[in-house]
Symmetry: C2
Subunit: 777 residues, 2 copies
């Protein structure tokens, strides 16, 4: 019986469906108690698809999805369901439906008390997998369109998290099996993600590498131009549609912006990593591990300075090398410090007073500490702080600050390390400051590097997830793209290249515009990994091209000016001839062929799209294709996938832009002139002095990691297109010795974002019954 | 062939084994290439146990483990192995050995280049499981003694991590199956731990609860008296030896002390949670989630104060309730704020200017903010800091500080919440400060409570691990025992009570001495959970009893005075008649029977042990037994397990110490007089004013969570025994409204530990090849 009083509401909803011209058919599946005469008679006969269904009529429910039905037509096993009930209950029922690929009755759902709440209606199409042909090793999930499409009736548009949730990911064990992992090589973290053991690399040593494809972009607007969605759409097209093994390697996003302005970073539309909430929150804890490791170094620095300031050499020595059962012994990490001091002894008693002093006193110069603390939160009040103001710290207060966790040097190390041993070495040589006598002081000097490696021992394993179409993704590392190199990890790329095999593709993404992310990918990451890309995909949008062609200012939060909504071929031409041409030229400096991927927005006209593709070829691109992955998933990127496959097959002539043995200044000048188009560089006196110090300390041969705005090829964010006739100012020069690069700062780089007046978190919540998250996008 | 030149080293090691009187037998299992005539002839015939083994001679290898062989004797399947090779390689071989329960050859290990390093020798005994009788639902792992015992030859003592590593834990899936979980109720995090879904509670709703046993302690020395090891030894005895279903519920330790002074917290010796390194590091990320949630609140507070200080009411309103496609709408969390302001509208345009002002301005009083940031690192320099000193924060700097993460109110909430919905409600009502007009401002007012619930949605699921003997453990929550209640979670207790069933036992531990941890367990946790304990295990040591009986000062880092090493019955008597008697009386205030567990140290004499047991009975304990779990595992706690079983069967008369409706002052006085033995309390004027404020704000009926030293029943850490004739001073009174208690501070509580001159991290490292951790203890 209708004890919950649902019938009147169902009748009400059905009346609306009758009148809604977009709804062209409804199939009722309700508990028998609810299928009353009144309900059955309410539904208009022309909307009752149950009969029509079997007669083979197209299952079309709303405009805009007609093209999704595909050539195979309707299977007799197809089921269409109207779910009626409370919002939460419908979601639960939907999940059951998707898992069983059958029909569900609402009265079978136990949290029926929630049916008392607001009634909502969902229309779902559920059909069997389209066909069983699968690529050699990877099995794509059924195309989300043909598998199950969930269209909330109101509003007719779906948010990213709704699309993500409408697809049931295969279990990570199944995914792992499909890509050829052994069970012992997988460490699942829940149902949908797993860490992959590095022993895999050793097992597949003899396997030839696949093709490495880099996704970069033209200089973006502040709104972003969709590199992540292109990356995901491309692997979906390669795997699920061209039946080629492929892997996407993505960065783990910082949690800070998820709750601030930006929202999630798992892609969007029908080109996403799922479940997107797991991608965006905590993941497998790598950034938390980095935060813990980074802050342990910071605590060790301040505590050590306090202890050195308040204890005699003898007291320090007695505590650092305590007598245990009458025996004093150096620990291995202390012996390592003795070696750096030039002392070969291992016998504590043999040290002279002077040697004891040199051993126990790091003598850090408080004004030359470079190590900052980190949090993975947008907390602007931590940008500049004074620590040590409690009376227990005896007046040893000092100014310092917090960065966002992804800006930690340890994140850059995670991205560049090629194994546990290499990571341990890099962590040990991180320089945290300088002694009063000018010596660099390292994490190893602090005695903390072993503990850092222990904290990071799981973080070094890449995390396996999947796209909306069930193709594999590694999520690993996410170094800040301005003060670090902004690329995902060397290890993820290496593992993926082995897994896809000779004919497969690994698509990896570089942050910011190609002048920054791609240049650093080639100069820093390729140098560290020894890997060479076979093609670059350069992402462009009509919007960004119009901006570079002279269009008005674009900014987040303001409505887009008309020029960006109406057709304007002249602005598009200007953008192609300036920024797009220059970015293609930059890729050619490295000898790598370029495929331009035009990320199509619904406001782009056919003429604009055709123009971009024609001009891109004129500017030297090997191919230029429009992409519709956001709306169509992999199907919308098939043309791009074909172009990438063709470009990768061509012979490659990769070369570095500069030799590392060049003087630091010359390396910076080379990048400024050849990549950015500057006339020259101008070093501040401070920068000159810093460079001199690094060269004296033996760091001359490190590559350069420029810290420059991504909003212009120059250092001036408002100079769009391809600026010339400027001198690039170098304000100051810093070094990440553990990661292994020198980073000159062009202007001021904020390493700690803030929260706006109304942060994203106002909309983020979860349903305590279904545990589903709302408001992430 | 011996390409690595191992034979001379093996010969060298065998010569040492020949001469070592402690080694009574060696079985050689080496790769054929290494079993040269020289090797075979080197081993002294009387040490060659291979033949003797089969003849049934006792397999005894070193003194101190003779009693471990048990009555079953030696099985013919028993295998003894000498592993010879580099340290890392031996460890890997050992793991293989344990997993296969067979023999391994070293040359089968692929990282053979590491054999070039230092040679080490391990002796292992590997025998099949003793017998196959298992308790109804839980299958204990094979007793670690009979399963595999790994004794590094030098030193002859083993560290906790060596013991932990010598046992191969069963997979968490197997453990889950043994305790009756369905596969869908488990979310594995790697091989050895998993989160358990709360839906389990619903499924087992009809199942009767088992017996709840609380482990508390007498007032401890600063060295700790072993409550965790007693807890683990007790469940090992109950499950693996008495064949009764049992569960231990433990707190997750802070990572800060792991790298500071204290080391790990997984128990010790043969009463441990394994793998102890996973227990101590990251676990399943709950503390990281708390840190993220706590610091999001902090960032939201400071950003909001800045935005309110720099924007008009209108600008704030336009940003907080923006027009999207021409429509302004309040989000649900904003409607919730409107309701608290007494406004029933949901229409933004209908607000008067005054109402807009009330809505947009939280008007937080900077001098009355109580929310602190947290890190899970011992970072003393963050105790008191000034934030907001960057020019971007426009001069809005203020003093604040960081606590250790486990001191966050969100940790206390995690421990007390009984479901996702309850946690969401508690997070929302957390008070972060007071407005200038005196109104409490909550996380819900900041709009952040939904995001907090999202960050905490996985943390709310308890983590399943196992003891060294394979019995199940929930690790969940670890609120600071001084400013919070210091008990593990209500949800872990509830889930465990269902899983063990009517005749089973759940053993849960309360922090600090019984006057603090146990009192809070009864007054706060039992009130929140509705659960009632059937018995209290009160842990005592001869060492602590001697201290209470008038022994000299005991402090960490100093050698123990002679009184604590030599027999001293008079000091023991003094301790029993003072502190032990008083702590038993406290438990009796609540009507719960007490079993005294004497945690035996190797220096304790038989007379001392007998005396404690006799006097404990005289003081009212229902039973008093010595425990040897540290040395013997569950086998050493069988007598305790029997006593606990018997005490739990007796009728229980649980009662609360105070009614929550009493005035706050009266509740504090009741605890001070009845529990601590004070004559009265003395409130500072500040404390009186604070209490008055809380009563006005409607928080009168919350229970009390005293923040007092754990080193004395009084507020004076040096007053041992059972002090009387003192007045308890209440300096200030704070409130955790989300967690749901008022906490009066008796003296100053440090909520951020520091690092010593030589922190633990000096010894912590990992082997990059085997990934094994050293130096955790």
């Amino acid at each position: 019986t209708d004890c919950l009083g649902l019938v009147p509401r169902i009748v009400d909803e059905l009346s609306k469906l009758n009148e809604d011209p977009r709804v062209r058919g409804v199939y009722l599946h309700l508990a028998p108690a609810l299928l009353t005469g009144r309900v059955i008679s309410t539904l208009a006969p022309e909307k009752d698809v149950d009969g029509r269904f079997r007669a083979g009529e197209p299952r079309v429910f709303c405009p805009g999805i007609e093209h999704l039905c595909g050539p195979t037509g309707v299977s007799s096993e197809g089921q269409t369901v109207v779910l009626v009930g409370a919002d939460g209950a419908v979601k639960v029922a939907l999940r059951c439906l998707m898992e069983r690929r059958g029909v569900v009755t609402l009265n079978g759902h136990k949290s029926s008390e929630s049916l008392q709440e607001q009634v909502c209606v969902c229309v779902c199409v559920c059909v069997p997998y389209p066909d069983s042909s699968v690529p050699p090793a990877l099995t794509p999930s059924p195309d989300p369109y043909s598998a199950v499409l969930c269209v909330p009736l109101s509003p007719w548009s779906s948010s990213d998290i709704q699309i993500s949730r409408a697809q049931t990911p295969k279990s990570v064990q199944q995914l792992a099996q499909e890509i050829g992992l052994l069970p012992g090589e997988l460490e699942p973290y829940g149902r949908n993600k797993a860490k992959v053991r590095l022993s895999l690399l050793e097992r597949l040593q003899a396997q030839p590498d696949g093709n490495l494809v880099l996704v970069a972009g033209i200089t973006p607007t502040p709104l972003g131009e969709g590199k992540s969605t292109v990356t995901i759409g491309l692997v979906q097209a390669l795997s699920a549609h061209l039946k080629l093994n492929s892997f996407a390697c993505l960065r783990q996003p910082s949690q800070g912006p998820t709750f601030g302005v930006k929202g999630g970073a798992a892609g969007g539309g029908y080109a996403q990593v799922i479940p997107m909430e797991e991608f965006n929150l905590h993941l497998t804890g790598d950034i938390h591990a980095i935060t813990a490791a980074n802050n342990l170094v910071a605590a060790a620095i301040d505590a050590r300075m306090l202890h050195e300031a308040t204890q005699s050499d003898k007291a320090l020595f007695n505590r650092l090398v305590p007598s245990v059962n009458g025996v004093r012994k150096f620990s291995p990490i202390q012996i390592s410090r003795l070696r750096r001091l030039g002392l070969s002894t291992t016998e504590p008693a043999s040290l002279t007073a002077e040697e004891v002093r040199a051993f126990v006193r790091l003598d850090l110069d408080p004004s030359k500490l470079t190590w900052q603390r980190v949090v993975d939160t947008n907390d602007r009040f931590l940008r500049k702080i004074t620590v040590g103001q409690a009376s227990t710290e005896k007046g040893h207060s000092r100014e310092t600050g917090f960065d966002i966790a992804v800006a930690s040097e340890i994140m850059a190390i995670l991205a560049l390390a090629d194994g546990l041993g290499d990571m341990r070495v890099r962590l040990a040589r991180m320089v945290v400051g300088t002694s009063r006598s000018g010596q660099p002081i390292t994490a190893e000097d602090l005695g903390v590097s072993g503990a850092l490696a222990v904290l990071m021992k799981d973080a070094i394993k890449p995390t396996l997830m999947q796209t909306l179409e069930g193709t594999p993704v590694f999520v690993h590392a996410g170094p800040f793209a301005n003060i670090a190199h902004g690329n995902s990890s060397v290890l993820a790329d290496k593992l993926a290249l082995k897994l896809v095999g000779r004919d497969g593709f690994v698509v990896t993404e570089a942050g910011f515009g190609a002048d920054i992310g791609m240049e650093k990918f080639f100069s820093i990451k390729c140098r560290a990994s020894g890997l060479r890309p076979s093609a670059v995909v350069l992402v462009a949008t009509v919007r960004a091209l119009k901006m570079h062609g002279g269009g008005p200012n674009v900014s987040a939060g303001s409505p887009l000016p008309r020029e960006y909504i109406d057709e304007n071929l002249s602005l598009v031409t200007g953008g192609c001839h300036s920024n797009l041409r220059k970015q293609i030229e930059i890729a050619h400096l490295f000898g790598v062929p370029v495929v331009v991927a035009l990320n199509v927005f619904k406001t782009d006209t056919a003429a604009e799209i055709a123009l971009v593709c024609r001009l891109a070829l004129e500017c030297g691109a090997r191919a230029a294709v429009p992409c519709h992955h956001w709306a169509l998933g992999g199907r919308g990127s098939v043309e791009l996938a074909r172009a990438v496959k063709e470009a990768s097959a061509a012979p490659s002539h990769f070369q570095f832009l500069y030799e590392t043995e060049m003087p630091i200044v010359e390396k910076i000048r080379t990048i400024a002139q050849k990549v950015y188009g500057a006339d020259d560089i101008a070093l501040s006196p401070q920068a000159e002095a810093e460079i001199q110090t690094y060269e004296q300390q033996g760091y001359r041969s490190l590559p350069i990691c420029m810290a420059k705005t991504h909003l212009s090829l120059s250092h001036m964010p408002d100079k769009k297109g391809a600026p010339t006739g400027f001198t690039l100012p170098i304000r100051t020069v810093r070094a990440s010795i553990g990661a292994g690069f020198i980073y000159p700062l062009v202007g001021t780089m904020s390493t700690m974002p803030g929260l706006p007046t109304r942060p994203c978190f106002y909309d983020i919540d979860l349903d305590p019954v279904t545990e589903e998250i709302t408001g992430l996008f």
